[in-house]
Amino acid sequence: MTEIPKEEMLLKCPSTCAGCGSLLALRYILKAAGKDTVLVIPACCNSVIQGVYPYMLHTVPVYNIAFAAAAACASGMSEAFRAVGKKTNVIVYAGDGGTADIGIQALSGALERGEDFLYICYDNEAYGNTGMQRSGATPLGAITTTTPNGKTVNKKDLDRIIEAHNLPYQATACASYPADIYNKVKKALSIPGPKFMHILAPCPPGWRTPSEKTVEIGKMAVKSGIWVLWEKEYDKFTISAPSRAAMKKPAPVIDYLKAQGRFRKVDEATAARIQAQVDKNLKKVAAEAAYSEENA
């Protein structure tokens, strides 16, 4: 952990909600990326917390762009930098709505073309910036302002969609594990071509959790196995240390659900359904890791 630079790339202090998971993640993303970096930000929480004209809090250039447009903007930017011989990191920092929903077409196109940039989706599992409307990434059972009785359909499996593009590097992470984020961003940026990271970012107002619980809730997600930390470098699939430990004896998902107000309408049947999905997914992940190891 000593290798993480002390220097902060964000000036004090963005106007995120107290206890914001996406801000915690961004701190470590920027530490890993360093100064030769441009952030591309579509409409999301991070487009309104960075400052009001004529000032901002980032110490790297930030390019704000339309909701559906982040990956296409990063494509053009990266191609232009490479064309003139610059190695500048182009990093998209986008919410789950801008990634899994409205931005997925541009993202898919950019990944297929093999554009050289890192796309990071910070996933707070709803449209946080506009007051928590459901997104494609909102999990089953979660209350949002547009699913007032809890979402009745599953969270979109964004990572499997991205994986279908056969990227050189893909990873999941969670705001509660900053060193893991730092290391994964470092590795991602050392690899040419399209990279994707999906970071679970607990959101106190949206998840209806106390602000001090952000890190704790993120860890509960990992420990229950509802969120698995892994990375995939070309064909090498590895489960990250915190999830490896958690998967030995995952905590019951119900504890994770009960810790959050957004799941307060989840009944027993739904809870059982969620637990079954988690169990199944963990088996899939374990099998994939085993397969990758055997075929290394």
């Binding site: 250039p61 762009i65 053009g76 064309a83 003139v84 950019a110």
Partner: protein, 376 residues
């Protein structure tokens, strides 16, 4: 003369001009009838004839966005589209102009569905007239080439820094083959110096929240740039004429001075109208033509006093009227206009038809060519 001329479609001439202008990034998505523009450019890039990156994006929304992302790094960019593609870009057209990026776009005018129709109409571009883009409408293959070269110089002029759209009639011009002179521009287009380009050593934030009263001043600055563009266009067209011998103006006038009645149109209709004027002159009708080239910025000094105008709109604003006629009337309230709606969906409008529209004109009315009078 003939040795210098090459036969080319409008599309290929535009692609040739883009090659001459040496952009660094081209991002585009194919759509009929624009396709040949970007096929040609993709071929130039793959063959090494053009030292550029061609980004084969998955949509027009992404085409314009990739141009924006590339442009803000300070390099020259180009894209091309048509019709539904242009409309799919709509959001990003505002973004490009608001970000003051000198993006140049070839726009092949085509009708909008339903039903599916691939032929010429100006409604696509006119529906984007309020996005902050400069718009020029061309009428020959040569003009498509020349206007594309000039567009880069005009857009990138630091007094302007607004994107430019070159409009060319689908099929009628995009696919016609005419002889044209593929002039080498030399240093006609100066190197791009984008003052607001991204610099990691001097980090800045672009397009963050802007308070209402300040936002207002940004929009006023765009209008100032649009006003400046009139001067820059005039300078650029004068310099082009001086260097290459072909002159253009915001409005092209034909048999103008003594004309009693004038056909006003854009694009190929405005060129074929000259033949109608010749025909009418033989009948003793003092007819002329005013071909509007620059729609944005709108021409300031149309010399229409004492003349009757037959304005042919290849477009329509439902619940209002023809866009060109409406704009002329708004700028020149005293104008005596017979408004004609013609050529929608690629409807055939010949010079003979136009001559008849002049003969039967009724000032102050709107006439839909092809709809029986008793139904109107």
């Amino acid at each position: 003369m003939s040795e210098k001329l090459v036969m080319s479609t409008g599309n290929k001439a535009m692609a040739s001009a883009v090659k001459m202008a040496k952009p660094t990034v081209v991002a585009a998505y194919p759509i009929t009838p624009q396709t040949e523009v970007i096929e040609s450019i993709a071929d130039y890039v793959e063959s090494g004839a053009m030292d550029a990156r061609y980004i084969p994006v998955e949509s027009e929304h992404s085409a314009m966005t990739a141009c924006i992302g590339a442009s803000i790094t300070g390099v020259r960019v180009f894209t091309a589209t048509s019709s539904h593609g242009l409309l799919y870009m709509h959001e990003m057209l505002h973004w490009a102009a608001g970000a003051r990026l000198p993006i140049v776009m070839g726009q092949v005018n085509r009708t909008l569905a339903p039903g599916w129709n691939i032929w010429a109409e100006h409604s696509d571009a006119l529906s984007q007239r309020d996005t902050g883009w400069l718009q020029v409408y061309v009428s020959t293959v040569q003009e498509a080439y020349d206007a594309t070269l000039m567009a880069f110089r005009i857009a990138e002029d630091n007094r302007v820094l607004l994107p430019v759209m070159i409009n060319m009639d689908g099929f009628l011009l995009s696919h016609i083959m005419q002889p044209f002179e593929m002039t080498e521009p030399g240093d006609f287009i100066p190197p791009l110096n984008l003052p607001q380009k991204i610099d990691v050593n001097d980090p800045k934030g672009y397009g963050a929240m802007s308070p209402s009263d300040i936002h207002f001043t940004f929009r006023y600055d765009m209008e100032k740039a649009m006003k400046n563009s009139r001067t820059v266009i005039a300078e650029t067209e004068a310099e082009f004429a001086k260097r290459f011998g072909r002159s253009y103006a915001p409005v092209e006038e034909y048999l103008w001075d003594d004309a009693d009645v004038v056909i006003v149109a854009m694009g190929t209709l405005g060129k074929e109208a000259e033949v109608a004027a010749d025909l009418l002159r033989k009948e003793g009708i003092k007819a002329g033509v005013m071909r509007v080239r620059w729609l944005r910025p709108f021409p300031l000094d149309m010399k229409i006093a004492g003349k009757e105008l037959v304005v042919i709109d290849r477009d329509y604003s439902f619940g209002f009227g023809g866009v060109l006629a409406g704009e002329i009337q708004a700028r020149y309230p005293e104008a005596k206009i017979a408004r004609v709606i013609a050529g929608l969906g690629g409807q055939e409008v010949t010079y003979e038809d136009m001559a008849e529209l002049v003969r039967t004109r009724k000032i102050g009315t709107e006439f839909w060519f092809g709809i029986p009078s008793e139904e109107q």
